[in-house]
Amino acid sequence: MGEAISCQLAGIASPGGAPPRNDTNKTMSHTPILTIRNLSTVFPDENGGLRALRDVTFDVHPREFICVLGPSGSGKTTLLRILAGLIKPTSGSFKFGHGEQPSTGMVFQQANLMPWRTVIENIKLPLEVKNINDAVARAKAREMIELVGLQGFEDSLPRDLSGGMAQRVAIARALIHDPDLLLLDEPFGSLDALTRERMWTELSRIWQARQKTVIMVTHSINESLFLADRVLVLTQRPGKIKMDVEVDLPRPRKDDIRYTPHFGKLARKLREAIE
C-alpha cells in the first residue's frame, strides 16, 4: 500500500469549493453532494493489518437514498464510520460538494439512547452539543417527535420504550440538527420482522418529508430494494464495490411491491452479487 495518506475533508483542501472531479463515465443530472475516491482502510493488528475497505469509489447525489449491501465483515460499517468522521481512512479521500465540514446524523445498530434522558432530552442532544437555546431545541424536538409519531412519549425514559420506538427516537435525534447526510448503520437489524417492515414504510415517509441524502448499511436485500434509489454491493473483506444497481421501482413503495416481477428480478441480481 504505497498510496499517499490523505483525508481531504472538504473546505480544508479547497476553500473556494473546487468543482467536483468528473472522472466517472456516467453523466450525472446533479452535482454530487459527496464524492468518495479510492477509500481504503487497514486496521493495525498482529499480522500486518486487517484490510477492511479497498478502493471504494462512488458519488452521492443530493436527496439520494443509497443502500450499501454486503456480507458481514465486508467493511460496510467501516465505510459509515469514515463518513461520520469517527475513523480516518488509511488512504483515499471523500469530499462534500458544498466545501465545508459536513454535518452528519447517525443511527446505530442499537438505538444507543442515553438511559438517563427522556425521549425529548435524547432527541435534542445534537442541538445541545451545538449550544442552541434550550427553548428552541425543545420546540424542534417536539416537531421531530411528531414526525416520527411518538407524541405522548416525550417524557418517557428509554427503558419504557419498545425496540421500534427506541429506534424512532434515534432517527429523530439523527435528523434534528438538519444534517447534510443521514448515515444509518443497520438500524433495524435488532427489530422483529414485523416491526422492521413497519419501520421501512416509516423511514420512506420521513425521508420523503425531510428530503435528506441517506446512506444506509444493511445486509437485507428486501430492505435495500424497499428503500433505496441505488444499491451498492460490497465484496467480502476487504470490501470493494462489486455492483452499483439503480433501483427503479416506483415510489411510494408499498408492502406488496415485493411480489412484483421487477422486484424479484432485482432481488435475484443482488443475491447473485452477494454470493
Binding site: 468522521g85 469517527l86 452528519t104 446505530f108 442515553m114 438511559p115 452539543v129 427503558r159
Partner: protein
C-alpha cells in the same frame, strides 16, 4: 410511611426493653453495662451542658472536610486512571499497596507529622474514604458504553461536553455506590484519628468517658457516631434517589 417504619420502631422498642430488663435483673453494675435509661439521662445532661453538641460539631467538621477531600482527590485521580491505561499500570501497585496498610497503623504517624489538631483527623478520614471512591470512579468511567462516545464524536462534541453529558451521568450509579461506602468509612476515619490523640471531638469524649468509668457517656458518644454515619448514608441515598431515578424500577 407508618407501615414502612413500624417494624423498625417495634424492634427498637423491644431491644431497649430487653436491655433495660437485663441491666435491672442481671446484677451487672452500671459502669459495665449502663441501663438505657441512664444513657438517656447522660445524653440529656451532655446536651444541656453543651459538651455533646460541641464535640459532635468538631467530629462532624473533620468528617465533612475529610470526606470532601477524599472524594475530590479520588474522583480526579480515578478519572485520570480510567482514561490512561499506562498511568494505571504505573500507579496501581502503589495504590493497592497503600490499601494494604491499615489506616489504624499509620494514624499515630500522621498525628505526629501533622500535630494533634483537626488536620491530622481530616487527612486520616480522607485516606480511608479515598480508595473505595477511587475504585468505583475507575469502574464507573470505564463502563461508559463506547457507542455513546461514537454518538458524541459523530456530533463533533467537545471533551467537556462528553464529560458532562455522557461520562458523569453514565458513571454516577457506580460512583455513588463508592460514595456510600466512603461516607460510612469517613466516620471511622475521624474517630481513629481522635482516639490516637485529641483534645476534642466524639473520640475524645469517648475516651474521657472510658478513663472516668463514665460508661453511659461512652454509650452516648457511640450512639452519636452511629447517628452521624446513618445521616451521611441517608444523604447519599437521597442523592441516589434524586439522580438515579432513571434506574430504579
Amino acid at each position: 410511611m407508618i407501615k414502612r417504619f413500624l417494624p423498625i420502631l417495634l424492634s427498637t422498642l423491644a431491644f431497649l426493653l430487653g436491655w433495660q430488663l437485663l441491666t435491672r435483673y442481671s446484677g451487672i453494675p452500671n459502669f459495665i453495662l449502663p441501663s438505657p435509661l441512664s444513657v438517656w439521662t447522660r445524653f440529656i445532661k451532655a446536651v444541656q451542658d453543651g459538651s455533646l453538641p460541641y464535640h459532635t460539631w468538631i467530629t462532624l467538621t473533620e468528617i465533612v472536610l475529610g470526606l470532601l477531600t477524599g472524594v475530590l482527590f479520588a474522583t480526579i485521580i480515578g478519572y485520570i486512571l480510567a482514561k490512561s491505561r499506562t498511568l494505571e499500570k504505573v500507579l496501581s501497585p502503589y495504590l493497592v499497596a497503600s490499601q494494604a496498610i491499615p489506616v489504624v497503623a499509620i494514624a499515630p504517624l500522621l498525628v505526629i507529622w501533622l500535630k494533634d489538631g483537626i488536620l491530622s483527623k481530616v487527612v486520616i478520614c480522607a485516606l480511608i474514604v479515598f480508595f473505595p471512591v477511587l475504585v468505583n470512579t475507575i469502574v464507573g468511567v470505564r463502563a461508559v458504553p463506547t457507542a455513546l462516545y461514537d454518538l458524541m464524536n459523530s456530533l463533533h462534541a467537545t471533551r467537556a461536553q462528553i464529560l458532562w453529558k455522557v461520562e458523569v451521568p453514565a458513571s454516577l450509579p457506580v460512583f455513588l455506590g463508592g460514595l456510600r461506602i466512603g461516607a460510612t468509612l469517613s466516620v471511622i476515619g475521624a474517630i481513629v484519628g481522635e482516639l490516637v490523640d485529641a483534645e476534642e471531638g466524639l473520640g475524645f469524649l469517648l475516651q474521657l468517658g472510658d478513663f472516668q468509668y463514665d460508661t453511659p457517656m461512652v454509650f452516648v458518644a457511640v450512639f452519636t457516631l452511629i447517628a452521624l454515619a446513618l445521616i451521611l448514608y441517608g444523604i447519599v441515598r437521597l442523592l441516589e434517589n434524586r439522580f438515579l431515578k432513571w434506574q430504579n424500577k
